[in-house]
């Protein structure tokens, strides 16, 4: 068959246009968002942690583990005990993530306190930025989640998280982390850790809800996020956080 250059470009061009139209159509006519009362655009989730209320009982760690089937030896949340002596490096312990609370300690004369930790739900998260396949993302309501079916298990995000909040699940070999109990907060419940905290040291907050007590709290209290110099826009606020906490 004799084919001229003109014919070739005409046919090729048509094929190209057809294929790209097909591809973009697929993206435009996407699936509808979840059709229930929960509207992602109306929420912006975070957490308040009051250091002065935490008693280091480990209830949050146990509750998280049970609610989310966290494998043994891994933690989506944990509690650290700080003992700070003047002029020395702070002593930090967290036996088994405080799953069984802390062994008794009666040393006095030190500045000592507990610091509960969890994913800081950063709005500008390093873990999301480094994911090569779009498996981790900030949801429209401000929760950092992992798409298990997309995660390759490359652990880039585990290294990128400045707070050490991610781990590779030993069974699925995909990255796992705190979801801020996304399955609970999207149906009007609080997180498992907040539900089980006996002193109210942890509180789930919704920054987009004008009636959330968080606004009053932030007006009257001195708060800080962990590692503010990382500019991650963390949404877990700590009240009365000591400068020694890393």
């Amino acid at each position: 068959m004799d084919i001229s250059r003109r014919d070739l470009f005409q046919v090729g061009g048509k094929l190209l246009v057809l294929a790209s139209v097909g591809a973009t159509l697929e993206q435009i006519t996407g699936a509808a968002p979840p059709s229930d009362a929960y509207k992602m655009a109306d929420h912006w989730w975070g957490m308040l942690i009051d250091i002065d209320k935490c008693i280091g009982c480990g209830n949050c760690v146990r509750a998280c583990s049970k609610e989310n089937n966290v494998p043994e030896g891994y933690f989506r949340t944990w509690v650290e005990r700080y003992q700070v002596e003047e002029g020395k490096q702070p002593r930090v312990d967290s036996p088994n993530g405080a799953m069984d609370g802390f062994p008794p300690n009666t040393r006095t004369g030190l500045k000592a306190f507990f610091v509960p930790k969890l994913c800081n739900q950063c709005a500008d998260s390093p873990c999301v930025q480094v994911c090569p396949v779009g498996a981790t993302f900030v949801s429209p309501d401000g929760v950092v989640l992992v798409d298990k079916s997309y995660c390759l298990g490359c652990r880039y995000c585990v290294q990128a998280c400045p707070y050490g909040c991610r781990y590779l699940h030993p069974e699925t070999n995909t990255v796992d982390k705190c979801t801020l109990c996304y399955h609970r907060i999207t149906q009007g419940l609080t997180t498992a850790c907040c539900e089980s905290c006996p002193t109210g040291a942890r509180q789930l907050v919704d920054f987009k809800n004008p009636r959330d007590p968080v606004h009053e709290f932030l007006r009257h209290n001195k708060v800080q996020v962990l590692k503010p110099y990382m500019a991650t826009e963390a949404k877990v606020y700590y009240k009365n956080l000591d400068g020694s906490v890393r």
């Binding site: 070739l8 993206q27 996407g30 049970k66 507990f114 993302f137 997309y150 996304y182 006996p198």
Partner: protein, 152 residues
């Protein structure tokens, strides 16, 4: 013309291959990438539904009080007023779904009270704490204290 086509073939053939590869790439991408990818950002929106599909283990305070109103009232009068039921009794959504088939076990008092009230310098000064060994010599707390309304 014939001679020209023959010479130009060196350019045409690679161009054909390139075009074909591009076409294949676009078609494969259209088929493989999920329809809604990119709806909210560079990720699959169905992952949000997957995260929401996880079962709930802790039923929540309000659910407990639907049936256990009396315990709720007893607790409201004491210093455990703001401690949720499942903080001590553990996750009980299965019990809430079917109270007959899933009867919860009572908490292990010896460990339970100690975790919160064992003396520790790191605990807030105003929080009630005791060195359990000196305080009771290891006797069970609920021998003297009522857990739902713990006055002395």
């Amino acid at each position: 013309m014939r001679q020209f086509l023959h010479d130009a073939g060196h350019l045409l053939r690679p161009a054909l291959v390139l075009l074909a590869a591009l076409g294949v790439f676009l078609i494969v991408r259209a088929v493989v990438v999920p329809k809604a990818f990119g709806q909210y950002g560079h990720y699959r929106p169905a992952a949000l539904d997957a995260a929401r599909a996880h079962p709930v283990a802790f039923a929540g305070q309000d659910t407990c009080l639907l049936c256990h109103e009396d315990e709720g009232k007893a607790r409201a009068a004491g210093s455990h007023a703001h401690v949720a039921c499942e903080a001590c009794h553990g996750p009980l959504s299965k019990h809430a779904d079917d109270p007959v088939a899933n009867v919860p076990q009572l908490p292990d008092v010896a460990n339970l009270c100690r975790r919160c009230h064992e003396k520790d310098a790191a605990k807030p000064a105003g929080f009630p704490q005791v060195a359990t060994v000196e305080h009771s010599g290891g006797a069970k707390c609920d021998g003297c204290h009522q857990p739902h309304n713990p006055k002395l």
